[in-house]
Symmetry: C2
Subunit: 142 residues, 2 copies
Amino acid sequence: MNEPACALCAATGGALVFQAEKFRVIRAQEAGFPAFYRVVWTAHVAEFSSLDLNDRALCMAAVCAVEQVLREQLQPTKINLAALGNVVPHLHWHVIARFGWDSHFPAPVWGSPQRPVDGAAVVALAARLDEVDDAIARALSA
Amino acid sequence: MNEPACALCAATGGALVFQAEKFRVIRAQEAGFPAFYRVVWTAHVAEFSSLDLNDRALCMAAVCAVEQVLREQLQPTKINLAALGNVVPHLHWHVIARFGWDSHFPAPVWGSPQRPVDGAAVVALAARLDEVDDAIARALSA
């Protein structure tokens, strides 16, 4: 299943938050959006519907665990979930805490900026994420 | 649960493809992306993780059914799934068949255009969607 040419087969893809056999959770490094996590499926599969029913449930349970920790710890304006994979067709779910103050809200993070980056707010949010990472790891270990 | 100020409580939000008690599938009218479907949850809930486990499974089964029909009928380059809801915080999943020729590929549909719209390809794709709609309705009725 390993495809060396695939960025998510070759590397972790971010700061590792939790590693299970079938998936990992990473915190991405996306400028302006510190609370940007990804659930990366271990096997090189492009489309979510290619997973069997048990694996779909496992995958979405992980996505929901990350989402719930972000909601509880950060009280974001909205959670954004997405599995796109146009550039890296290896199943990964973006789980992003969005805030009314962020540079793009209410546009998607991939859309047009709506306002300048609020550097102080970004730094304050980033400072809370070690604790969020720990809470995600605890939730997924439970 | 009904919120009159919410666009997805007040109206169907697109061409109705399938109606179940807890969700509906609509085909959206997004210029340049004819194979753009949405699974709209009936109840006014903002976040996916607010659903209970049974409803999460039901919702993702509907998303996967739409995805699988799109894959089978249209052989897209990639499926894009997303639950954003920053503008309309009423749970809805975007299920979009993406093609290498489309105006934005490999960028998200919310990102920057990569090339002009290929009008002939868009028209040819749109002409197949009545059949796709029927296949989605059959898959969800099964």
